[in-house]
Symmetry: C3
Subunit: 134 residues, 3 copies
Amino acid sequence: MAQVKELSIESHERNQLIKLNDRVATFIAESGVKEGVCYIYVPHTTAGVIINEGADPTVASDLLETLSRLVPHQASYSHPEGNADSHIKSALVGSSATVFVRNAAPVLGTWQSIFFCEFDGPRRRKLWLKLIDG
Amino acid sequence: MAQVKELSIESHERNQLIKLNDRVATFIAESGVKEGVCYIYVPHTTAGVIINEGADPTVASDLLETLSRLVPHQASYSHPEGNADSHIKSALVGSSATVFVRNAAPVLGTWQSIFFCEFDGPRRRKLWLKLIDG
Amino acid sequence: MAQVKELSIESHERNQLIKLNDRVATFIAESGVKEGVCYIYVPHTTAGVIINEGADPTVASDLLETLSRLVPHQASYSHPEGNADSHIKSALVGSSATVFVRNAAPVLGTWQSIFFCEFDGPRRRKLWLKLIDG
């Protein structure tokens, strides 16, 4: 058994982490899959997905600031669209994540949240979810 | 049903991104798997795989230049083989990627390409593909 | 058929790479799964997992030193717990890895090892393994 869903995500900043836990949990609960693996996939090239601490929002802001220090918005890039940094950040954090599913729910560590990573907002984005039974 | 394949890849630069879309699509089409997940795995420690923009080649060159600025070829490394930077870049981008499969084809975002990341070329490399039905 | 296991890991340094090959191989051999995919998942937000060279320990030390140069322990972070750097390193390397399984064994490249990445030790940690048949 497998299930696929496309979520719509709206970002409000150029760089922003958006928590996905509730929407991923709802997708899994509604799918009928009890045990398996949930794939989270970002079909964009200036965004990504990470799993990290969601309790204290300073973790997200420190991450975004550090990424912007390492990969500045303005620098001597060749890409002419002004978002070379966004593509590079996307490549560094990655475009997919994997979460285990048990008892029809995502299994995360105590402090873990799933975050959509916006690096070229604000925009409307898509996120794809897929479940494999097993 | 599952399918595995080993591809051979030839790089021509020390740092180079090589587009894999056509070869991944051919593998999936020939496998007989209609719906599932395709895993792309790099069995090397100085190479990796990313999914990012493939339309404008400056995205790839900006990424490679930024990685080389952050992790220079020559620095005070302990590893004696002259490719410490290659190993570190490989760890940062990662050695595997996951793509959804629908209607016997990879499902990518509009601007997404799958890239083998060479960080210690030129060389002949391997890439492993595996499909899971579901 | 699927199998899940939780491993306990003890780190002895603030930043440390711990090789997991033997424990992953044992888990797979005992599971009864012959062909499939093994997921390695770190349920922490200041740790991660990578696959990289395990033969020469200087590769691990160069990686840890480079990460600490790019993301210093002490800097102007907002997170008040003194481990903002650990969260950022965790986001950069990622919290999961995927390995192919063939003949009831993990299939790695010649020089590849699976490493638990400790970025806020010393501590006792958990690692989750899951196998999917296919």
